[in-house]
């Protein structure tokens, strides 16, 4: 049994490494289309990690929303403006030192938060399996307010898109 | 007002009907109408014309063609090439020495058959003509083009028999007119020119 577990562990690390490599690819590759593909790969890798952590629901949603919708739209946009996809875009400009400073600050902040948070790692929490039904109940019960707010925001976004598109059409 | 989707449904019923009838109807009534070609063949249609061939009576030497060159001249795409045979004395023998037809050029119009005054060139039924080369393989020489009258009878019976009758009548007329001259065999070009 332990062999399997170690194999699974190694597999997990490999997937993590892959995610990191692809994430690096997203920011360093010069061809925008390749970047988008790397982003998709990184997101799929994250979904795999979720599966490993027994959050299948989250994994499925991750793939459905991020890979199936977000990345697709990104690629769609890239393909619509084809001259971007063909050129290789320069990856840094005069503002990059500033950005690096900002990034370092953000990383420091994140690290601080992570280190300070008391992670409640108990045996019970590890064994607990969040069912879809539980999620649904949580959404409709405890978190119904944020849920509704999000839906309103989404509807506003939708209407906004339609308005912009409509104006374009009238021209 | 028709129901939305009714047209689509009707179309599907048509294809379904054809699908079912293809199993148990005859080709003429909505069954399968394709022919499994190399094994099955359509009934040969007599009037069908493809490439021209030359008719001989009996043996290939007795070819009807007299190398008059009319077909060569009238052929629209100019795919016929004829050279007359010349005997030792240097006299033309009224026989083709060379008779080439470029099948690659021929457009199967049947003009040669129409203009030939000697009933010697006819359109064949053989359509499975292939060659590996565009220029060489498709040029047919006299030997390849010559086919017996029996073959002609087999391929186009009505036309061949009517032409045989015509030729017989002409021959008898000729015999009656010039009995002492003897049998001319195939060498009877001037008489052939007035068929009717």
């Amino acid at each position: 049994m332990s062999i399997l577990e170690t194999a699974a562990q190694f597999g997990t690390y490999a997937v993590m490494a892959g995610v990191l490599i692809f994430a690096l690819g997203v920011v360093t590759l010069r061809n925008l289309f390749h970047c988008a593909l790397c982003l998709a790969a990184a997101l799929i890798g994250t979904a795999v990690l979720y599966v490993v952590l027994r959050a299948e629901y989250l994994a499925a949603i991750q793939i459905l929303l991020y890979v199936g919708a977000v990345v697709t739209l990104v690629i769609f946009a890239i393909m619509l403006t084809e001259h971007i996809a063909q050129k290789t875009v320069r990856q840094n400009n005069s503002q990059s030192p500033l950005a690096i400073v900002g990034l370092l600050g953000f990383v420091a902040l994140l690290a601080g938060v992570i280190l300070k948070t008391p992670w409640p790692v108990t045996q019970a929490a590890l064994k607990a399996k969040v069912s879809v039904m539980g999620l649904g109940e949580a959404l409709m019960g405890a978190y119904v307010f944020p849920f509704e707010v999000i839906s309103i925001i989404l509807i506003a976004a939708l209407i906004g898109t339609v308005v912009i598109a409509k104006k374009d059409d009238a021209q | 007002m028709t129901i939305f989707g009714w047209g689509v449904f009707k179309g599907m019923m048509v294809t379904l009907k054809n699908f079912l009838t293809s199993y148990f109807r005859k080709p003429d009534e909505g069954g399968i109408f394709t022919v499994q070609y190399p094994e099955e063949r359509e009934k040969a249609i007599e009037n069908f014309r493809n490439f021209p061939f030359l008719v001989y009576d009996g043996s290939p030497e007795k070819i009807r063609c007299v190398a008059c060159g009319i077909c060569e001249r009238e052929c629209p795409p100019k795919c016929i090439h004829i050279e007359m045979e010349i005997d030792v004395a240097g006299k033309p023998t009224r026989k083709p020495a060379v008779f080439d037809i470029d099948y690659g050029l021929c457009m199967n119009c049947g003009m040669c058959e129409e203009v030939c005054p000697f009933d010697s060139i006819f359109m064949d039924h053989a359509f499975e003509v292939t060659a590996p080369e565009r220029n060489e393989g498709l040029v047919r020489n006299k030997k390849e083009l010559s086919k017996s009258n029996e073959y002609f009878q087999k391929v186009r019976p009505t036309l061949a028999s009517s032409i045989d009758q015509k030729r017989k009548a002409a021959e008898e007329k000729k015999k009656a007119a010039a009995a002492p001259q003897g049998v001319g065999g195939q060498a009877q070009p001037p008489q052939g020119q007035e068929p009717k």
Partner: protein
């Protein structure tokens, strides 16, 4: 608001130029269009043709009159008989040859059968352009095959018929042939009914065809469009009715007219024209008289085509080919060859309004508009 404006300035979509053909599954041969696309919308279209140019007119000017006949088969190879008809009509006009009664009937029968063949083929191919997976096309070909078998029996060839002669036709129709034609004519309405059930009311087809590629009657007349394309635009113009050439004035038939001049009208006018052709065939089969099939005067010319020298002069003969007005203009200088020979090909002239019909439509529409014009590249490029 500024952001929106900035976005609008940057997202001017690039115009994509596509070379449509000459190697393309649905250009009906080797036709080429240069299409400018904005997304899927067409904002420019230039037809380019000439890929199948075979020098038809020049070849004809170097051939005796009779030898041109097989070449006219190769113009519009879907209905060679209409081309034969037009050319024979022109030369008869030029040489003043009369055509015997029976020959006229045979001509009309053959030409109308060719029209039926052409129209079902066109509809089949148009449906293929629409994306139907060969089914309507193969149903059309099933019926076409029966008629082509008949052509083979009568003329000797399925497509390149070379059947008409100056002053008559090449071969007589036997009673068996007439019976076979009668059988086809009487069976055809059933097939048309099935065909229509498959297509006419189909919502997808209607969606795709209605109000697409609209051609107004005015534009069509100004551009010299003829044939079903013109009649679909609502203009009553059929040379069979206008010229009364051959013996078309003896038959009772109607000219179906379209309402809007879109692709659907062009499709349906053709269906209705098949019905009218069947009516003509019925009448011709009932009335066909016995007699000669070729003018006595032109009999010797069959054996000696080079002896045929029409008097000096010119003639323009035209017929209603299934694609439109097919005209032949021949100038004779008294030699065995025509001095000038010109073909007015309906396919070519109908193609001139292609851009006008396609602008603002989607790329998928351009294909069915092209299909609905019904071009045959043999005729367009000559």
């Amino acid at each position: 608001m500024e952001i929106i404006n900035a976005l609008k300035n940057t997202d001017e979509t690039q115009i994509l130029e596509i070379n449509f053909g000459p190697q393309h599954p649905s250009t009906h041969g080797v036709f080429r269009m240069t299409i400018q696309l904005e997304g899927e919308k067409i904002c420019g279209l230039k037809p380019v043709f000439g890929y199948l140019h075979r020098n038809h007119e020049q070849i004809a000017e170097n051939l005796p009159y009779a030898a041109i006949m097989p070449y006219t088969d190769r113009l519009d190879y879907v209905n060679a008989l209409a081309n034969n008809f037009g050319y024979a009509l022109t030369i008869e006009k030029l040489a003043g040859l009369e055509v015997p009664e029976r020959a006229e009937y045979i001509r009309v029968i053959m030409a109308e059968l060719a029209r039926v063949v052409n129209h079902i083929t066109v509809i089949g191919f148009m449906l293929n352009d629409l994306g139907a997976f060969f089914t309507p096309l193969l149903y059309a070909f099933r019926e076409r095959e029966r008629i082509l078998d008949l052509f083979e029996e009568i003329t000797g060839s399925r497509l390149m018929n070379n059947f008409f002669r100056f002053g008559g036709v090449k071969r007589d129709l036997t009673n068996a042939n007439l019976a076979a034609i009668q059988k086809i004519v009487s069976k055809f309405p059933a097939f048309l009914k099935e065909f229509e059930a498959l297509l006419t009311k189909n919502e997808i087809l209607c969606m795709r065809c209605q109000n697409i590629g609209v051609l107004s009657g005015d534009t069509a007349t100004n551009a010299g469009i003829t044939g079903p394309v013109l009649r679909a635009s609502g203009v009553n113009y059929d040379i069979r009715k206008v010229d009364h050439y051959s013996i078309y004035d003896r038959f009772d038939f109607k000219i179906p007219l379209g309402e809007k001049g879109d692709v659907y009208d062009r499709f349906y006018v053709r269906v209705l024209e098949i019905r009218e052709s069947l009516k003509i065939l019925e009448q011709a089969l009932a009335k066909i008289p016995a007699g000669e099939i070729i003018n006595k005067k032109s009999l010797p010319l069959l054996k000696m085509p080079r002896n045929f020298k029409p008097p000096v002069g010119e003639a323009y003969g035209r017929v209603e080919s299934p694609k439109g007005e097919l005209g032949f203009y021949v100038v004779s200088d008294g030699t065995p060859q025509p001095w000038r020979y010109h073909v007015r090909a309906p396919s070519l002239i109908n193609l001139t309004v292609l851009e006008e019909m396609c602008l603002g439509q989607k790329i998928a529409d351009a294909i069915i508009i092209l299909g609905s014009i019904d071009i045959v590249l043999g005729e367009t490029d000559r």
